[in-house]
């Protein structure tokens, strides 16, 4: 919540106070060693769930990240173990029908080139979405927000992220479009949070259009990871970004990326 607001303020400030021109240049940057990259998420919904393994590369590599195809990936919840099988290059999937259990802690193990990489994630309950509604944008005329309403549990510090589907098509198709927040300052209250801005003009919402929101209960670590991801996009230097830094993952032995376990609450709204 607070982060989104701060984000808006900062973006406004940055946008509105500079007249800056830019020009494309060639830049020569040194390359560090390649590292293993993990992108994995399991939820309490039916699958398919899996983990994507790729390699890091030099900064101007300019091609899709190469998949890691020779790893052995297993998941365990302290009791049971599951082997992940590679379906596409770098995509390791859990067996069909696997669904995470809220309250469990899962351990991911990746064996690659004689190194074992471990990550641990706790699947917490998600405070269910109560309802969805439309709210006019305070500044932009004719544009509406999609607002979700839910009761935030008072006894815990909660962190969330959202995926939005418009007519079954994923809107939040890259991580920087994914809204996220926490309950700092509003713990225990009934919250109304704008998560999506409806389009205008030709793409404005038509009656019959369906919009679906999925709310994920993420960990505080993942929340910090998301903040760091946003901070490190694009501009380097300048007065509002501060020195760039690496995004903090939760996998050991220097692997990059994140392994997340989350519970999902989903609600759909039909436009009138």
């Amino acid at each position: 919540m607070k982060r989104n607001v701060k984000h808006i303020a900062l973006v406004l400030i940055a946008l509105a106070t500079f007249v800056a021109c830019s020009e494309k240049i060639e830049l020569d940057l040194n390359t560090s060693n390649t590292r293993l990259v993990v992108e994995g998420m399991i939820t309490d919904q039916n699958g398919p769930h899996g983990v994507i393994l790729t390699q890091s590369s030099s900064y101007f590599f300019n091609e899709p990240a190469p998949g890691v195809t020779d790893a052995v990936v297993t998941l365990s919840d302290g009791g049971q173990q599951w082997q992940l099988t590679q379906e596409n290059a770098g995509h390791y999937m859990l067996p069909q029908g696997f669904a995470g259990m809220p309250g469990s802690t899962y351990q991911l193990s990746i064996l690659h080139e004689n190194t074992e990489y471990l990550a641990s994630a706790h699947l917490r309950e998600v405070p269910a979405i109560d309802s969805l509604s439309r709210l006019p944008h305070p500044i932009l005329p004719g544009r509406d927000f999609l607002v979700i309403h839910f009761l935030d549990p008072p006894q815990t510090r909660d962190f969330f992220m959202y995926h939005i589907f418009y007519n079954d098509s994923l809107v939040t198709d890259s991580i920087n479009k994914v809204p996220f927040g926490d309950d700092e300052g509003v713990n225990g209250r009934y919250l109304s949070i704008p998560v999506y801005l409806f389009r205008s003009g030709d793409e404005a919402p038509q009656p019959g259009d369906r919009i679906r929101v999925q709310k994920f209960s993420i960990s505080e670590e993942y929340f910090q990871f998301m903040i760091a991801l946003r901070r490190n996009q694009g501009t380097v230097g300048g007065p509002f970004t501060g020195p760039p830094a690496n995004v903090p993952g939760n996998i050991n032995n220097g692997a990059l990326g994140f392994f997340l376990a989350a519970a999902v609450s989903e609600v759909e709204m039909v436009i009138e």
């Binding site: 406004l12 400030i13 830019s22 560090s32 990240a65 006019p136 509002f240 690496n246 990059l256 994140f258």
Partner: protein, 782 residues
Amino acid sequence: MKKLFLILFIFILAVPVVAEETLPEGLVRGRITDAATGEPLPGATVFARDLRIGAAADPMGYYNIALPSGTHTLEVSFVGYQTRILNIEVRTQYNIDIALEPEDQLLKEVVIQDRRPGEHVERTEMGVVRLPSQTIRQVPAFMGEVDILKVIQTLPGVQSAGEGASGFNVRGGGIDQNLILMDEAPIYNASHLMGFFSVFNNDVLKDISLFKGNIPAEYGGRISSLLDVRVKEGDMQQFGGSGGIGSISSRLMLEGPIVKDRISFIAAGRRSYADIFIPLANNPDIIDNRLFFYDLNMKVFARINERNRLNITTYNGRDIFRFGDQSPFTMGWGNTTFALTWNYILHPNWLLDASLVYGGYDYSLRQEGGNTSFLWEAGNNDVGLKTGLSWFPNENHSVKMGFSSFFHRFNPGVFKGLDDDSPFGEIGAEGSDALQHGIFISNEQKMGERWSAEYGLRFSAFQSIGPATVYNFDDNFNYVDSTVYRGGEIYNTWTGLEPRLGLRFSLSGNASLKASYNRNLQYIHLASYSNGGNPLDIWLPSSQMVRPQIANQYAVGYFQNIPLKGQTVESSVELFYKDMQNQIDFKDNAQLMLNPKIEGEFRFGRGWAYGAEFLLRKLEGRLTGWISYTLSRSERQIESINHGNPYVSSFDRTHNLNLVATYQLSQRVSLSATWVYTTGAPVTLPSGRFEYGNQIVPVYTERNAYRLPDYHRLDVGATIRGKQRPDRRFHGEWNLSVYNAYYRKNTWMFDFRPDNTQPGKVDAFKVYLFPIIPAVTYNFFF
């Protein structure tokens, strides 16, 4: 009771008599003033040529010079005024007030002057530059406005924090390490529009002094420099004023007597109409927007009687950004200062000054309209008392002592929803208070013909005072618990001794060697995302975890006057080394805004800087100006940053070369040019990348391992004075200037953007700020 009155009465009567009897033979004192306005002329010099003894007038215009009895010829001079030669007989005359006539051609000469060419060889101080305001007006103005901060950045050892940033770095120190005072009141953010202009309106300035090392013992609180800005007193005799109408901003200054010869005022206002900076023309949704700044200055000066003077200086300025009509978003920030100073001549040898001071800085962001309206405010303010007692026991000593005590209030930022149905709660950091005290004693001493020394000791203390909630962290910067302090409860006391020492040895009439050592403490710190400074910076006090910053600075210098065709060229070389302890940097991905546990984001370590500063100045003749070159290095070593290895600090600029020149083409026309060159700023760039969630994410290994391209630009300007009519008070001049005359696109920062046509491809861009910017201003005086 009656006895007391009697004693007092006799004492008052007796004082003048006592004074004459105890005044040591050979001490000549008085006040140097402007013959036309009655204004004191601080920095004017009195020079006894035969003895090569000189003295400069203090901020109140008083001078004192010790001369053996007999006849002497005194030369009294000040830039912009006709020099007076006086013959005096020292046995009988002890007090001589001298009035100097202003020169007809105020703009005839010089860009920078330390009051008299060649004087820098005689003064003990080093690492100081003084600029009388009228001499700054000749330097090419940035966008038509004269900016003293831009001028000091062309001096050796001083660097701009970045293009457009008016924060500055002195001898490798951070932008928060400069104490900026306007008539003794602190200014926290000296820039408008993120550095395009400074808050100082040159029309009201009397002079400024920048102390790069050798900060006098009466000042403390910042470890790299003191920028002492003095506002001028209004004309005591008649009304007048000046102003300017320009393409970027306009201003008006009025001054005059309230009671002739007794009380005067000066008031000035300035406003920009820099709305041209709004780059939102492409977005049809944005209806109305405004971006401007204003400054208001006022000073009232009262000469109550021969012994008592009072002045009140106040300043208020603000930057305002507003857009949106129905649901406006407003952002504003600015300083407010107030200072009341009393000067009292206790005795011809004793001078007392006391100031009551207020300085505050705040910013706010406000969104109105509907239930998502919010308000985010932060700021800090100081209230305090500063006193000094000056004593001149004999011709070889000039002693000053005093104390100061300030109360600080810090509001790091609170965000809250305004509407009753607001989804926003209240988030932010609680405020806290602190007290800062200082007590000092210093002396300027002449030891024989060749040696002189300036030495002093300052003892400073800082105390945190409740009510406050303090968050405690363990050694790994993890939050442990919090402690609550009651109102008035004092916790966290920091103290320190700050010795200051300067020595001068005269090698000959034309050359001298100087050395200095300074130790400074700093108790308040800037938490800023950027290195150039931005208006949302937060000032924070020292605490259990945040120790005071300490600097030890050592400097040596060689000063020489070189005669050149009857004129003097001043040259100097200064070498410095500064080590700084308890330097603050922030952990990776630090959250500084609205974070009550902000101290957990800090990391601490040390810094050091060293360099050589070269300066050549020509102050006389048709062509005047200077060349300055600084070769320096500034590094930091902070735990957990850059893997704990030393890294180049963000304000390290290896080479910094400045050429400033003014040429008086004719009586009415003068041309000026400034050329600036600095090594590019250090920057952290990625050494790899990975993909996550359809996003390219950079990988960094070292901090500040790369540099932006070198920065250089040329500014040119011309000033054309209107015909001066002797019968008319009103006269004007046109000022034309071009910033960045050969349109160099200096890189402000790098930007990496994904190529939308080719997934996975990232292109590098350089972002540059200022193209060539011409400006026209019509300045008038009456």
